[in-house]
Symmetry: C2
Subunit: 382 residues, 2 copies
C-alpha cells in the first residue's frame, strides 16, 4: 500500500505528496520545454535565463505558437497573479523575477491579478479585511522587484470588479458545474463563490483583448498547479472567439523543512520578504539539508544536495553563476564542505537580498495606486 | 395519474401547472396576510390598497416585525427588481404599482435591482447586448410610473457591480452548492454563473445597511416564486449580522391565454407596455374568457369570471372600484353581459393606460441615469 504522504495531489488549492513532474505533464497534457524551445526563446528574447537553463520553468502550452505570432509582429501580453492569503516569501518571488524578465525582454504589458475573492472563499479563517490587507502588502512585494507603472497593471478582484465582471459573466455562461467539478474536484460542500471563481481567473486572459478591442495573444507564467484553470480558460476562449492563452509553467519552489514542505502553520518553513535579519538567519541555519548525522561521517561519505533545501535556494535564486553552483555541489557531495559552512554562504546572500527588497518596499509602498488597473476604465473600447 | 400540466412547479425561473396558493404558503413556510394584518398595514400606511383588499398580495415574511420596528421609529427600505429578459407587460407593472404605493406611504428608499447577469445566465438564447438593452428599456417602464430620483435607486447588476461585489463575496462564502441545489433545484448542468447568482440577489437586502453603516430593516415586495431566494438571504443575514429581510408576496398576474398562461413565444398572451393601440385592442378582443360556446347559451347559463383573463385584468388593475367590479361580476355570471360587450369596457381602459404610460416613457427615457445607484458610491461608509 502506498504511503499516503506520497500520494501526489496537485490542484490550484492543494499541492501534496511527492511531486512527479513528468507525470504532471502527462496528467495535465502540457508540453515539456525542450532544448530546442529554450534556444528559440533565448534567440527571440536576446538572452538566456537561468530559470530555463535550470528547468525551473519546465512545461508550457502553445509557447511555439506564441513565438510564431510574436515574430510575425503580433505581440502578446503577460498575465500572472497571486492569491493574497498571507505574506510573500522567497518562493513566491522566484516566478515573479522570471515574469519581470519576460516583460522586459518582450517589452509588453503585465496584468497581475490579486485574487482576494478566491482566497476569501477558499480559506475558512480569512476575513475580508485580511485579504484586503494581504492584497496591498503582496502588491508592495511585487512592485519592490522594480516594475514600471506604464506597463504594469495590478488587478484587484474586488476593487477592480467593474473592469472584470461583464467578461466573467460571459465566461461563466460557458462553464457548467459538471465541468468545474471534473476539472477542480469541487464537492457539493464548496461555497458558491468558490464555484464561480474559475470565471474570475479566466477573465484576465481576455482583458487586454476586451480593453483594446483587438484579439491579443496572452502568456501566463505560473506554477503548474494552476493549469486546471487554463484548461477551462482555453476551452472558453474558443467559444468566446479569443485566442487561447499560452502558458509557461514552473515547478514548486520548495520550503526550508524536510521534503521541501512550506506550511502556513510553520513560519520557520519559509523566509518571508519582511523577515528581520536575525530571524532570516535563524531560518537558514535551521533549514533541512542533505547532510549526515555526524561531521566525521559527512567528511567521509559526502552529503546529498538533491534533497537539500539550502542547495535548492542556491539553484533557484542565490547562485546564478553555473560554475559556482557546480563548485558548491562538488564540495557538498565530496564532503569537503559541511552544511554549517555551506549555510554561511547562504546567510549573507539572503540577508542582502532581504535588505535590498525591504528598502525597495519602503520606496514603493506609497506608490501602489499608480499601478492600479482602475486606470484602464478610460481605455475600454467595448 | 395526475395530468402532467397540473403538476405545480414554482421556482424563481419556472412557474408551471395549476397554482395552489395555499399549498405554496405551506411549502415555502410563509405567512398568510390575514384581515388583522391588513388593517394594521392600513392604519400605519394611512390608507387602504386594493391589492391587499383583493388578496393580490397575500403572503409575507416578518411583516409584523417590520411594522413593529417602523412604529418604534426604525424605518425600513424597500427592495424589489426585475430580470430584464424581454419587454415589460402589464403583469410586471402590477407589483410595481404597489411598490410605488409602499414607497410613498412609508416615505422611504426603493432599491430596484435589474438582474441582467441572471437573465443572461438563465436564458441560453439571450446575448449580453440583449440584456443590456432590456435593462434600459425595462428601467424606463418602471420610471414611467412616476418615481423620484431622490428616493429611487436603479441597481444594474453588471454596471453597478462595484457597489455589490464585495457584499456578494461575503454572502457567497456562507452558501454551499448543497444548499443552492436543495433550495433552487440546480442540476450539475447549470452554469457557474447561475450557481453564483443567488449571492447577487441577496446583496440588495443588505446594501442600504452597508452603505449607511446602520443595520436597516428591508421589505421586499415580489411575486412568491422569488421566496427561495429570500430563504437563502435570511439564513445568510443571520450569519453576517444583518436583519433578515421581510417580504410581501403577490400572486402571479395571469396572461391573456387559457389558464392565464403568458409565454415569450406567444406575444398575443400579454399586453406589452409599448404595444400600439391597434395591437393591444386585438389582444384584448382575442383574450381567453369564461364565456360559453354560443351567445344563446351564455344568456341562459351565464359565464364564469373565475377563469376569465379579462376579469382578472379588471380585478388587478382596470376596475379599482369594488362596486363596479361586483356589478361586472354579477352581469357576467347572470348572462346579462356577453364577453364581447365586456371586452368593450376593457379596451378603452387599456388603451388609455398604455397611452399615458407611453407618454410618461417619452418624458423619462433620457433621465434614467439620474436614478442610477452609481450615485451611492459616494455615500459608502464602509
Amino acid at each position: 500500500m502506498a504511503d499516503k504522504n506520497d500520494e501526489m495531489i496537485v490542484t490550484p488549492w492543494e499541492v501534496r505528496g511527492k511531486i512527479d513532474y513528468d507525470r504532471l505533464i502527462e496528467l495535465f497534457g502540457t508540453q515539456r520545454i525542450d532544448q530546442k524551445l529554450k534556444e528559440r526563446i533565448y534567440r527571440v528574447a536576446g538572452e538566456k535565463h537561468m530559470y530555463l537553463e535550470r528547468d525551473l520553468f519546465f512545461s508550457h502550452r502553445d509557447l511555439d505558437w506564441l513565438l510564431d505570432e510574436y515574430e510575425k509582429g503580433d505581440k502578446f501580453v503577460i498575465y500572472t497573479g497571486r492569491g493574497p492569503s498571507g505574506p510573500v516569501h522567497i518562493g513566491h518571488i522566484v516566478p515573479w523575477i522570471f515574469t519581470k524578465w519576460l516583460q522586459k525582454r518582450f517589452k509588453t504589458r503585465l496584468y497581475f491579478q490579486l485574487t482576494n475573492d478566491e482566497k476569501f472563499w477558499f480559506n475558512e479563517e480569512l476575513t475580508i479585511e485580511d485579504v484586503h490587507r494581504f492584497t496591498r502588502e503582496n502588491a508592495i512585494d511585487l512592485l519592490a522587484l522594480g516594475f514600471e507603472p506604464e506597463n504594469t497593471f495590478l488587478v484587484d478582484d474586488i476593487k477592480d470588479i467593474s473592469l472584470l465582471y461583464e467578461i466573467a459573466v460571459r465566461v461563466a455562461k460557458k462553464v457548467t458545474f459538471s465541468t468545474a467539478k471534473a476539472v477542480f474536484g469541487f464537492e457539493n460542500s464548496m461555497n458558491i463563490g468558490g464555484i464561480w471563481y474559475p470565471a474570475m481567473q479566466a477573465v484576465l486572459a481576455f482583458l487586454h483583448s476586451e480593453i483594446t478591442g483587438t484579439n491579443t495573444p496572452c502568456l501566463i507564467p505560473c506554477a503548474i498547479d494552476q493549469d486546471p484553470h487554463w484548461r477551462v480558460t482555453r476551452d472558453v476562449a474558443d467559444k468566446l472567439g479569443y485566442y487561447k492563452p499560452a502558458s509557461i509553467q514552473n515547478r514548486f519552489v520548495p520550503g526550508l523543512a524536510e521534503g521541501g514542505k512550506m506550511s502556513a502553520s510553520d513560519p520557520m518553513s519559509a523566509i518571508f520578504m519582511t523577515d528581520k535579519p536575525k530571524l532570516a538567519k535563524k531560518k537558514v541555519m535551521n533549514a533541512f539539508t542533505g547532510g549526515r548525522s555526524t561531521a566525521e561521517e559527512q567528511r567521509r561519505l559526502g552529503a546529498n544536495p538533491d534533497i537539500c533545501s539550502v542547495f535548492k535556494y542556491y539553484n533557484f535564486i542565490f547562485v546564478p553563476d553555473n560554475k559556482e553552483l557546480a563548485d558548491i555541489e562538488r564540495k557538498c557531495r565530496s564532503g569537503e564542505m559541511l552544511c554549517g559552512e555551506c549555510k554561511q554562504i547562504l546567510v549573507p546572500r539572503v540577508l542582502d537580498f532581504l535588505e535590498r527588497h525591504q528598502s525597495a518596499r519602503e520606496e514603493v509602498k506609497d506608490r501602489v495606486d499608480e499601478f492600479s488597473a482602475s486606470r484602464l476604465m478610460d481605455e475600454i473600447k467595448r
